[in-house]
Symmetry: C2
Subunit: 509 residues, 2 copies
């Protein structure tokens, strides 16, 4: 049909920016007056998505409206801090507000919901719109749910990985070999990364480690490392740290590697859903963006770990290796014991204390964490050519015992901005054994939930400190764990959960 | 494990309510100061979900924070209009703010995402939490997407229907027979309901019609009827109208019948996804809550209608009839022609003018709308025992032509609060034929999208007015439709779409 458009271009009068000092987390929010002429001419209603532009920059935001002049005047747009910073405007600067363009990539999301596989183009369009902040929570949840209900196949996983790499920065290193390490998670306290990086870098390999924050766990490596040193490094700083020390332990989101991942992760956390395809795309997009050539992947297996059986672990390992290979990344997957938490701490700061104890060869350092880290570092030293087949573990243990790993870790922390002392929680509370006997089962999931209710990972000092391990003989009334919380409220939520969750640690008479 | 809770009950200091006059649509929002002692003691961060309680009432809201005293002081809670009205507080009244309880029903949503069917208890827990406003957009979208990816089976559909009935009010009528009517939608302009109700009630049957607003279409019956009379009736008013006139045409959400439906509908609209299971639960929960004993269901079938083929229509009809039967509701499904829009108007007010023309026997009244409405009313008159088998259509047509239907419609509108004149749009624009020839295909979906971009259904006067029908012989440059918009901005969006959408109306030389 022929449309005679000329006559009807929309007027685009400008408005003035007003900073509200409103904190809305990631979500850009703008507040306009109900009687603002732009709301009238554009037909904008409360909670509509709007496109706000200033100079060359634009941001899509959720519109709220007010019916008095107290917050914003008729010709003003009140901006939340997120919107304010994304637009980079100054008080009173001119803005334009209009309807956002129609989101064509949602047609692909709908097709995916109804069971149609998506090709590389469709996934790249989706990831581009997601990264640009054009997807609402409803759209994001629909896409992630659809790719959980009908799991992403190998092609989709690879295409999603490629799309997530494409929208972010990409690092290049002079070294022929760049090693990396990752744990698929699900095992509380499994904080080997800082130790592995220290050992590997101390042996002269390049290991620019970027880690994520927790998705559904009480702590991610970035959350833990942040209690020991700054992890929110920009690309230049990260490069400087790695060139100086051979390694770093940084937050991936801070260097704009795979920025879409941080958006997906937020929604996955709210849903408490974490799927294989998203997991692989998340991990590999970050590794490949970071310029890694070789990666060691730790897959803990246990009845209450994320991966519950050897078959699932093998399937995951095969899928990871296959997708990684498409991008020229050599992945080595290692199945590890996932029957109980690693070390003693569960939660950012508590895990950091375990890491410090191992690196400093403290007499009471948790040996399980020490051996796991050495084993994974050994694998990295072998694929990196610093140790012969089977000789990696010994070299790694030596690097710990002779103090070179601790020296390297101190140097890396200094380069990242200075070694910090992790915070201690103000509120501690024991959970005690109801009877004497032997510890026969430990439920990782319930302990993780307990640590989260205590405030982890947002409350850095919060979490759970394990006082027993599988096989221990204990007395009635002996503490099984101590809950650490920063606020009485959070301690109470954790205790309420503990009271009704049933045995997290089973003691058999 | 044994928890020694006593020592750690959370302090629950009170705060004072402050009305912000902030319009956030359905979403309750509260604003608190970053340094508010409750935020500190409870560990509340921006965009957290919080439980706000006052007196006996409570509301779950999204928390935003400010870092200055301008909007709220340290001991104040700023409330959006939605939160303010749900709590029913007054300025300065005492409030408590805390973490909402853990949402156990989300475990069922996660199980459903991974392909496990849900039982009646699980669905009723979900619907209860949804109705209480405890689900975020992420949770709602995940549930709806999961029940689209793996379609609800008959048991789940029936259990969801039952759960949606249980959380709302339920109406009872003295009449042994209470008839109802519904169209599954997907056909623009198919606004038969007001006509059917008028005909059926004029013949002495009880027809307490409650309709929904548009889900993904440019207008729902409630949207259209609202331009002719008030439709937001409370239970008492609706009962009074029906007892006086035998029928009504009201908005279902206004009478708290199946309140969960209106929440699901909002998210389905944002996703532009509308599934069979949700459709059936939505329709039947409203019919059964309204106390209907018999219902006629219009299923338009056409290449660009919601239901594209006879097989799909038969499957839908069978599922509707089976689920309805479980609740003692007799459903009669009628397949109708869905090859082109019905009548001339697409959009609330434009469809209302068609309805008025038919009821008033205007010489230019759209005959297709007249015949459809009479056919459906005839079916209702037959199942209601007012006409013998096959005699319903004739009786319905007589009721229209002798003016009894119009009289009844006037009386119903008067009882609902007064007959209104639908609004006219300020901005009209034609789309003209690019060539002479015959109209061979009309795309319902593109025309519906066009009407929505023009502002329908929120802009009541907006939409599309059809100037041609299938088979018409037309000249080059002759108007095919006129776009009606209330604002220049919306007209421009519609025209932009028309310019790039390709033929909505195909003309063959």
């Amino acid at each position: 049909m022929t449309a005679l458009v000329s006559s009807a271009e929309p007027a685009q009068p400008t408005l003035r920016a007003r900073r509200l000092g409103l904190h809305t987390q990631h979500q850009p929010v703008v507040v306009m007056h109900k009687d603002c002429h732009v709301c009238h001419s554009e037909g904008l209603a409360a909670r509509a998505q709007v496109l706000v532009t200033s100079g060359g920059r634009e941001v899509q935001a959720t519109l709220f409206q007010v019916d008095s002049d107290a917050m914003v005047k008729h010709d003003e747009v009140g901006l939340s801090e997120t919107a304010w910073n994304l637009l980079g405007v100054s008080e009173g600067e001119e803005l334009r507000v209009s309807h956002p363009p129609a989101l064509e990539s949602l047609a692909s999301v709908r097709r995916r919901i109804y069971g149609h596989r998506l090709d590389a183009q469709a996934l790249s369009d989706i990831v581009r719109d997601v990264t640009a902040g054009r997807y609402t929570d409803v759209h994001l949840a629909a896409f992630l749910t659809a790719s959980a209900a009908l799991p992403l196949d190998e092609n989709e996983t690879a295409d999603l990985t490629g799309a997530m790499i494409a929208v972010g920065d990409r690092m290049r290193w002079d070294a022929p070999i760049v090693v990396d390490k990752h744990c698929v998670g699900g095992l509380p306290g499994n904080r080997t990364t800082p130790i592995v990086v220290a050992i590997v870098a101390a042996n002269g390999l390049v290991m620019p480690k970027t880690s994520s924050r927790a998705i559904t766990s009480p702590a991610g490596t970035a959350d833990t490392m942040e209690t020991l040193a700054p992890v929110d490094l920009d690309l230049a700083t990260l490069r400087r740290v790695v060139e100086a020390e051979g390694g770093c332990i940084a937050w991936g989101g801070g260097v704009h590697l795979s920025p879409a991942d941080d958006i997906f992760v937020r929604v996955e956390r709210e849903l408490d859903v974490d799927t294989e395809g998203q997991l692989i795309a998340s991990v590999l997009s970050k590794k490949i963006s970071a310029g890694s050539t070789h990666v060691v992947i730790d897959i803990p297996v246990g009845p209450t770990a994320k991966v519950r059986g050897e078959d699932a672990a093998s399937h995951l390992a095969a899928r990871i290796t296959a997708v990684a290979a498409r991008f020229g990344l050599a992945a080595t997957c290692v199945q590890t014991d996932g029957s109980q938490p690693v070390g003693r701490g569960i939660g950012p700061a508590l895990e950091a204390f375990d890491v410090l104890a191992v690196l400093r060869n403290a007499p009471d350092a948790p040996d399980d964490l020490r051996r796991r880290a050495a084993m994974l570092a050994g694998a990295a030293l072998e694929i990196g050519g610093k140790a012969g087949k089977g000789a990696g573990l010994a070299l790694a243990l030596d690097t710990l015992s002779d103090g070179r790993a601790w020296k390297k870790f101190e140097a890396i922390c200094a380069a990242q901005g200075g070694l910090r002392t992790p915070p201690r929680a103000a509120h501690l509370h024991p959970l005690v054994a109801p009877r004497a006997g032997r510890v026969v089962h430990i439920n990782n999931r319930k302990l993780a939930r307990l640590a989260k209710l205590a405030g982890a990972p947002d409350a850095k000092a919060a979490g759970v400190h394990m006082e027993v391990r599988l096989g221990d003989e204990i007395d009635r009334g002996q503490p099984l764990v101590h809950i650490h919380a920063e606020t009485p409220g959070e301690l109470a939520y954790a205790l309420d959960y503990a009271a009704q969750a049933g045995d997290m640690i089973e003691v058999e008479p």
